[in-house]
């Protein structure tokens, strides 16, 4: 009967949530924004690409003077340029419109700027003059190198692969940090997107005066757990919807959107941080869900309950103020406080776990702490809902709540 009712509650609550207009507005607003940003990036990228291509092949008349003696006249000629007799003459020719541009290469281009004078062709098209002036100097400098293989080095196109060791074993570096950090992302998404619904999920029974009917029909624990599971399912739907434009963008438009090419094969999935991260995520979710539902159970209206949402959100963002400290000095006192204080523990511990600064002992203590407090708070939330939600029109006082919690 209880299992049957749990399934009934989950399906009823899930259907109710996902058929609400405001759920889809909240769910679609983020992917629509992402898609809009992607679209703007895509079209802007295409325009820039076309513009660069056009500039590269832009042909315009220009002259130059070269105090550095680095410019190769042959190369300059390929770009359509020729040497001028004087700086003043070059500038005058531009001013009179006889030529499009004039470049004045200084004696020490490494420390002094190339002076470019040109006919104004619009703020974007004017960039072609400096592009061509620089390209001529670069090509001329590379042509002077004794070996063509030195060219990439001069251009700075050098890649570095570093290997570091932890206790004699190759450490994964950033490739090992990213996978456990995904739990942190999921935690934030769940709390930010579903927190308010968790908070108000039990208020609806009060506002509709349906508490007595429902509590005499279904066990309070079944109802609350059903609500939690339905919220989690609704959260999964939201995450799928959020992720879809990112996946589509990455798979089909990666180069157009200038997205980095992540080599997933390089990511290191180490068992301990992944398992610890998953447990911290579940423990944190349990704790926050219980706390939000408990607050909702003692509040008479969604409006009054909503006031507490900011406070809960604050507790998951506070560790961000110390994020650099968490990464660089994980043993600092404030970091240790954030690590073990229940409301800041999930975020701090997940960051430390990803960066490898959470010891096995601390991990175990934290997982036990989060689950123990989380389950206690959920139990408290059920009790507060069972006996406190009958207070239809007013808040359950702290004294009453305490009385409810300490009674048999």
């Amino acid at each position: 009967m209880r299992r049957h009712n749990l399934a009934t509650v989950v399906s009823f609550e899930f259907r109710r949530t996902v058929t609400k207009r405001r759920f889809w507005i909240a769910t679609l607003i983020v992917p629509v924004l992402i898609a809009t940003v992607f679209a703007l990036t895509y079209f802007s990228s295409r325009a820039t690409s076309n513009s660069l291509s056009a500039q590269k092949h832009a042909s315009f008349s220009f002259t130059y003077v070269d105090a550095s003696h680095l410019v190769n006249p042959e190369i300059a000629s390929r770009f359509g340029g020729r040497a001028a007799t004087s700086v003043a003459g070059g500038i005058a020719a531009v001013k009179s419109g006889r030529i499009d541009a004039f470049f004045d290469y200084p004696a020490a281009p490494a420390t002094h700027s190339i002076l470019v004078y040109g006919k104004d062709v619009g703020i974007f098209n004017n960039a072609k003059y400096s592009s061509v002036a620089t390209a001529i100097l670069q090509a001329s400098a590379i042509a002077r190198l004794p070996s063509p293989s030195l060219a990439p080095i001069v251009r700075g196109a050098v890649s570095v692969k570093s290997t570091t060791y932890t206790n004699g074993v190759t450490s994964p570096g950033l490739n090992g940090v990213i996978p456990p950090l995904i739990y942190l992302l999921v935690f934030y998404l769940v709390i930010v997107l579903l927190g308010n619904q968790m908070l108000t999920s039990t208020v609806e029974e009060k506002e509709n005066r349906v508490t007595e009917m429902i509590l005499t029909t279904v066990d309070a624990r079944t109802l609350i757990i059903g609500k939690i599971l339905s919220l989690f399912s609704a959260g999964a739907v939201q995450m799928l919807v959020f992720a879809s434009p990112v996946v589509v963008g990455y798979v089909f438009f990666r180069s157009s959107l200038s997205l980095p090419n992540v080599n997933f094969a390089d990511l290191v999935i180490a068992p301990r941080p992944m398992i610890t991260g998953a447990l911290l995520l579940l423990g944190g979710f349990t704790l926050f869900t219980g706390a939000l539902i408990a607050i909702g159970a003692v509040m008479p209206t969604a409006k009054e309950a909503g006031g507490f949402f900011g406070a809960v959100l604050g507790s998951i963002f506070i560790p961000f103020y110390a994020s650099s400290l968490i990464v660089s000095h994980p043993t600092a006192l404030i970091v240790e406080v954030f690590t073990f204080f229940p409301l800041t523990a999930p975020v701090t511990a997940m960051v430390r776990n990803a960066f490898g600064s959470l010891s096995a002992t601390a991990s175990m203590v934290l997982v036990v702490e989060l689950f123990a407090i989380g389950l206690f708070v959920i139990r408290m939330a059920i009790r507060l809902f069972q006996y406190g939600s009958i207070e239809y029109a007013r808040k359950v006082s702290l004294r009453t709540a305490f009385g409810l919690l300490t009674k048999r």
Partner: protein, 312 residues
């Protein structure tokens, strides 16, 4: 006035014994005990604030009792106990954004029915109460009378073996009140145990087998309707007359209107003695009847001292 010792019934569906409830150290219920027998219709009576709803909520596990035993079918109530309960609370409510049919099917499923059975039952009920065309309508778009019908449907959805109705006709229009009475008649015929809180004494006299009167958190009276009537003097004399009814130690005037009065005989005074007092005082008596005291009158005697004085 004290209640007679309350027997404990082996065949009781509801068993309440020594129930005490305090709110903020103030006792609301003080050692209440009674039983509701299987198949009977039981009236749970009391003035506003006397603790009737508190008792029902404690019986159903919504409140935690301070002390005492509150059992349904021999154990504390839990929705998972398997008792087929229909409960119409004083504070009515439904999920407002749901359609009528979805709401009824949800409660039907929670009460253990299959989806198809709950749906079929709900549609039959809506047909019966002439609301079939509203099956897909959201509850908050119904009139209050229509919402009451849906609430009634949800209450009796699982053919309950125990029906607890807290002021069932409160806020009901005459049509829905008639519907409720028809449903109660059906349930009585089916053998359902009914426990109802009401202030409608005509309903109690018509429907209830036994009653308990709650006053100051205790059972003021408990038994069959006749037993309770007998306990409170039993007889009222109704007189239609001309003249002035004199004061007399042989009776108390319960009600005095133009040319009509109701008198309660004092002690063992016989009706004939009262008639003699009236005639001797020159009252022209046109009609003189003796009746068993109504529950309305008993209710006024027990709870409404002040209001009773006001009409004298």
């Amino acid at each position: 006035m004290t209640a007679s010792p309350l027997p404990s019934f082996a065949g009781s569906v509801v068993h309440i014994d020594g129930f005490m409830m305090t709110f903020a150290k103030r006792p609301v219920i003080d050692g209440l005990s009674f039983d509701v027998m299987r198949g009977e219709t039981f009236g749970f009576l009391g003035s506003n604030g006397s603790g009737k709803t508190t008792t029902i909520r404690a019986l159903l596990g919504i409140y935690q009792a301070t002390a005492g035993t509150l059992h349904i079918d021999g154990r504390p109530f839990s929705p998972d106990n398997g008792v087929r309960l229909g409960y119409l609370p004083e504070e009515r409510g439904l999920y407002k954004k749901e359609s009528v049919l979805d709401e009824m099917v949800y409660f039907g499923r929670l009460k253990g029915l299959t989806h198809d059975t709950a749906r079929r039952w709900s549609l039959d009920f809506l047909e019966r109460v002439e609301m079939a065309e509203y099956a897909a309508t959201r509850v908050d778009r119904l009139s209050s009378g229509q919402q009451q019908k849906v609430q009634l449907g949800v209450t009796i959805l699982n053919n309950p073996e125990l029906l607890i109705l807290d002021e069932p006709t409160k806020g009901f229009d005459p049509v829905n009140r008639r519907l409720l009475m028809d449903i109660l008649d059906d349930e009585k015929r089916r053998g359902t145990t009914v426990m109802m809180v009401t202030h409608q004494m005509d309903e109690v006299e018509r429907l209830c087998d036994r009653i308990v009167l709650l006053k100051d958190g205790r059972a003021e009276a408990y038994g069959t309707v006749t037993e309770v009537q007998d306990r409170y003097g039993g007889t009222t004399i109704r007189v239609r007359y001309a003249g002035v009814i004199p004061d007399s130690p042989r009776y108390t005037v319960i009600l005095r209107e133009r040319n009509y009065a109701e008198l309660a005989p004092a002690g063992d005074t016989a009706p004939a003695d009262i008639l003699k007092v009236l005639v001797d005082a020159g009252v022209a008596v046109n009609e003189f009847t003796t009746n068993r005291r109504s529950l309305d009158e008993i209710f006024l005697m027990v709870y409404g001292d002040e209001s009773a004085k006001a009409v004298r």
